[in-house]
């Protein structure tokens, strides 16, 4: 097993490197560069930069080199001293910018993920066990509605309801009066209140899909012969469900956990903008739009690594969860 993990880790390295080259190349593809973008932005604010000043900026940022030179310098910085580069827009190291938004991003994402699994799995199981019951139909309908409604629209609807019922659209993650204050019970309650809309909105996106997957898998598993045998032998129905059907049905869900890792960090960008959430998504979007290359590059590269690691984690989890996979590998070895 350890050998397997090691081998997988080694093959990850070239994959990530290739991805980083592609990412960097794509980012600088659009016309213009960060400086031309910045000059236009300054003009709108009433500031003018002369051609000489623009050239000085390009030189300072190293933008006059060809892209592969910039890439090599960047990747060397990462490999040799763990330096992810420099964000032009923030005038700060990329790492500092990422750190700033990390906590809020993790809070929102983990809460949304927990919401998804806690809601989807029980409902999926229920729908399967009580197939074609009233409850099943209700959940199916709601599920499809949720799947078909764009996230940001749901966000707007919930903000509207919150505004009409409570007089507060619940923008952001924190009421202004708590900012800068120390953590207190009132502040936590305030945070939880602000978390409801984002978590429901971001969570429902994948909830509906998961319910369908879970339901389908359960229906499959519940009629398998080993389950029938267990039932015939008088194993309690709840034990049967838990130990045999559900365990097997979780298989596809676990194998996609890895992918949700990336969603944690940059998913739901539009929702975050609509809700004014201080998370990574909007930062990433504006970095891409402004060609803030190292920030955007670091992000995309980071996501690529997460996807690769995520897949590995899924595989390991699967092996642990599903003896069939474990044994197959052992047999081959």
């Amino acid at each position: 097993m350890l050998k397997y993990v090691l081998r997988r880790c080694l093959t990850m390295i070239p994959v990530v490197l290739i991805i980083s080259v592609i990412v960097f190349w794509v980012i600088q593809l659009p016309p213009g560069d960060f400086v031309s973008h910045r000059v236009l932005q300054l003009q709108q604010e009433g500031e003018q930069l002369s051609a000489v000043e623009q050239e000085a900026l390009r030189e300072r940022y190293g933008l006059d080199d060809p892209w592969y030179v910039q890439y090599l310098a960047w990747i060397w910085g990462i490999l040799s001293r763990g330096d992810l580069g420099y964000s032009f827009a923030y005038s700060q190291p990329v790492l500092a910018v990422m750190e700033r938004y990390m906590a809020t991003t993790l809070i929102v994402a983990l809460a949304a993920m927990a919401f998804t699994y806690l809601v989807a799995i029980p409902i999926g199981v229920y729908s399967a066990v009580k197939q074609y019951s009233l409850g099943d139909y209700v959940f199916t309908t709601v599920g499809f509605l949720g799947m078909a409604t764009p996230n940001f629209l749901l966000a707007i609807i919930l903000m509207y309801l919150s505004y009409t019922w409570f007089g507060n659209p619940m923008l952001g993650l924190q009421s202004p009066e708590f900012s800068g204050a120390g953590w207190s019970a009132a502040r936590v309650v305030d945070l939880l209140g602000h978390l409801v809309i984002p978590v429901v909105v971001i969570g429902t996106a994948s909830t509906c899909e998961l319910i369908r997957v879970m339901r389908g898998q359960m229906l499959d598993e519940m009629t398998k012969q080993h389950v029938m045998t267990a039932r015939a032998k008088g194993v309690k129905e709840s034990t049967n469900l838990r130990k045999y059907s559900m365990r097997a049905a979780l298989n596809p869900i676990v194998s996609t956990i890895g992918w949700s890792l990336t969603a944690i960090f940059t998913g739901s960008t539009i929702t975050a903008i609509v809700l004014n959430l201080p998370t990574q998504g909007p930062v990433m979007l504006s970095a891409l739009m402004a060609q803030d290359m190292y920030l955007a590059g670091a992000w995309l590269g980071f996501m690529a690594i997460l996807t690769v690691i995520g897949t590995l984690i899924s595989d390991i989890l699967l092996a642990w969860l599903d003896p069939r996979i474990r044994d197959e590998r052992r047999a081959r070895a």
């Binding site: 016309p31 700033r100 009066e177 800068g180």
Partner: protein, 671 residues
């Protein structure tokens, strides 16, 4: 207007520039100053403001918030914190004497995206534009003298004035800025135009020399006459000073490069250039950096919400001796999308919100429920919806067409302005040509009507005359190819696409096939820089006075679409770009001559000629007149001008003098 600087005291120091000669600028006062419309009230306000000097330290009143700190021994008493009595600046109030206290909820973009959102309203310039906009007046400075040939400016500072950390503000701070910040160009800007004088005979430029006469006097000497020096300072070098005691601890010149770099790293910067731009230019985000502003940040930028607190050492009082600002705190809240500001203004959260015209209906409809009023400030642009022709498109045939006045006239009269005005501006932007409004300096009679009637027959006739024959629905170019125009706009412009589609509709009605292209900001910059644009609806030309901000009306540098190739040529001294001819060359000649004048009447003469060339040629066509920039102002807030000019030169909202904004009942105003 009766509200003039109440500090008109000692006769030997000139309090204002003699720029009153700026043509009809005095008229702006009528159009722009809200007191004019408030009848009897304005006389009372004028009477209130007739205080020239605070005569006794006992009459100084501080905010209860600071009084508590004085009580606790954390701060010296107010009289010791403010400049010497005769040097305290008395800020006239706009409507009433205010009350100390309250928190102003202030929406802002993130510090990277919109540093000026808070920068402009809180700015304290050495010299600032007067309320009427007809010249500049001392602000941080106390006054100035200038010799007769305009080569030597003596600037007086205020005795006893202090930085926000209590250090004395002296001529050393001005010298610090000039010697160690501006002249070595450490913050990414070249030495400003303000500090150069031009030899009238050779055109060669010479840099100013600064010297400190004593602790409170600075002299700026030029080799050649430098008219408009103070106006240029008010525009370019708003803050011509930096806290010497603080700078000495961070600049590599004083502490060595290694130590300076270490500080830069500590502050999260990779190199000195980035750190210095932040510390010397966008400096107002550092809570430990001493400032002269009315409010100062209590923590560094970065959080979603940052509180700015009143500066205990602020140098102004109202006419009754209350130390300004009235408002104790600003709560800066970051938004990602302008709709968030709308939402929270309707809800009554933000005390002042600034909006593009597009939000007009929404704001008006909800004013009562949201507890605010909508204020309309007039912009300095010449139109709200219009097109600029890139006068040097790559295609030679198009270039000839664009240079032919008949073609521009055809595209002007082919459009139904009445309809556009209703469709795009609710009728507020008058159906007229790009022009200067009545009551503003350099207004030209009949300009607004030039080529402004909707006359499809006339357009057809002109286009036929130009040899653009019809082939079926569409016209052909003289060289036989199909005539196709491209209108380019930035995709993130407010309401991008609406106006452009309407233009397309009207152009195609006279047989000109038109494509609308909405492009990303970076792409737009690229197209513009390389001179690839044809027509663009992006940006507006105009301005208060060509001598203040010539960029959009005279080709001095790249950027403005209609003249960007010529601007490039001029800035590169002929090495790049395209040399202009005819009237466009004349613009440059006039501007250069204008800059060499020492007499303000002569300057206005030249400015008028520049404007008249624009009237004659209309390199940019306007289809609807200017529309106001909107502010929602809480009903609990007073002293915010109902209407005035909104211009960058005047620092946008800053022109309303935010230090004297006040809550009517501060008790209810919390974050």
């Amino acid at each position: 207007m009766a509200i003039s600087s109440p500090t008109h005291g000692t006769a030997d120091i000139r309090r204002r520039t003699a720029l009153g000669a700026l043509g009809g600028m005095g008229l702006i006062a009528l159009a722009g100053c809200a007191d004019g419309s408030e009848g009897a009230g304005s006389e009372e306000v004028a009477a209130l403001n007739e205080v020239e000097e605070i005569t006794s330290a006992d009459s100084l009143v501080e905010s209860p918030m600071l009084a508590e700190r004085v009580e606790a021994g954390e701060l010296p008493p107010v009289a010791e914190r403010m400049p010497a009595l005769e040097d305290i600046m008395i800020e006239p109030v706009h409507e009433q004497i205010g009350t100390h206290g309250g928190t102003w909820n202030f929406p802002t973009r993130s510090a990277q995206e919109g540093p000026w959102d808070i920068g402009k309203p809180t700015e304290e310039a050495l010299f600032r534009f007067t309320v009427e906009g007809d010249g500049v007046e001392p602000n941080v400075a106390k006054g100035f003298e200038v010799d007769d040939d305009l080569t030597e400016y003596t600037i007086h500072l205020r005795k006893g004035m202090k930085w926000s950390d209590g250090h004395d503000f002296t001529s050393a701070d001005v010298m610090m800025w000039w010697e160690h910040i501006m002249r070595p160009e450490i913050f990414g800007r070249s030495v400003y135009d303000a500090f150069w004088s031009t030899d009238p005979s050779t055109g060669e430029r010479a840099m100013a020399e600064f010297s400190a006469v004593d602790d409170h006097t600075v002299q700026v000497a030029f080799q050649h006459p430098r008219p408009m020096f103070l106006e240029r300072v008010a525009i370019d070098a708003k803050w011509m000073f930096a806290p010497a005691h603080w700078m000495e601890e961070i600049l590599d010149e004083f502490i060595g490069e290694e130590a300076a770099l270490e500080i830069a790293k500590e502050r999260g910067f990779e190199d000195l250039a980035g750190w210095y731009e932040s510390a010397c230019y966008y400096y107002w985000f550092w809570s430990d950096r001493p400032m002269l502003r009315a409010w100062i940040p209590t923590e560094d930028a970065g959080a979603e919400q940052v509180t700015w607190e009143r500066n205990p050492y602020y140098f102004k009082t109202d006419p009754a001796g209350h130390q300004l600002p009235y408002i104790d705190q600003l709560s800066l809240e970051t938004y990602q999308d302008p709709s968030h500001v709308e939402l929270q203004v309707l809800e009554g959260h933000f005390d002042i919100g600034q909006f593009e015209f597009g939000s007009f209906t929404l704001l008006q409809e909800n004013a009562e429920q949201g507890g605010y009023q909508v204020r309309q400030w007039e912009p300095a642009g010449w139109y709200s919806n219009g097109v600029q022709f890139n006068m040097e498109p790559p295609d030679e045939t198009l270039r000839e067409l664009f240079h032919d006045a008949r073609f521009r006239e055809a595209l002007s009269v082919a459009v139904d302005r009445e309809a556009l005005s209703e469709q795009l501006t609710l009728g507020l932007g008058a159906p007229q040509q790009s022009s200067i409004a009545e009551g503003r300096p350099f207004h030209q009679e009949d300009w607004a009507q030039r080529w402004a009637s909707y006359d499809v027959d006339r357009a057809d006739e002109l286009l036929d005359e130009l040899g653009l024959t019809r082939d079926g629905d569409w016209r052909l170019r003289p060289d036989g190819e199909a005539l196709r125009l491209v209108i380019t706009q930035q995709s993130d412009a407010p309401q991008a696409g609406q106006f452009e589609e309407l233009l397309k509709h009207h152009f195609e009605a006279v047989g000109i096939q038109t494509d609308v292209e909405l492009v990303d900001r970076g792409r737009f910059g690229d197209l513009n820089d390389s001179g690839q644009l044809q027509l663009t609806t992006s940006g507006v030309i105009g301005g208060i006075h060509p001598i203040f901000r010539p960029d959009t009306v005279v080709p001095l540098r790249a950027g403005t679409p209609w003249h960007t190739q010529y601007g490039t040529w001029y800035a590169a001294e002929g090495a790049q770009g395209v040399e202009p001819t005819g009237d466009i060359m004349e613009l440059i000649t006039l501007y250069r001559e204008m800059s060499a004048q020492t007499d303000s009447a002569a300057i206005d003469d030249y400015a008028e000629q520049i404007i008249q060339l624009h009237e004659k040629n209309l390199w940019a066509l306007g289809y609807t007149g200017p529309v106001p920039t909107l502010f929602s102002v809480s009903n609990n807030m007073a002293n915010v001008p109902a209407e005035t000019t909104f211009a960058d030169e005047f620092r946008d909202l800053g022109h309303g003098r935010p230090a004297q904004f006040t809550f009517i009942d501060p008790e209810v105003e919390t974050a």
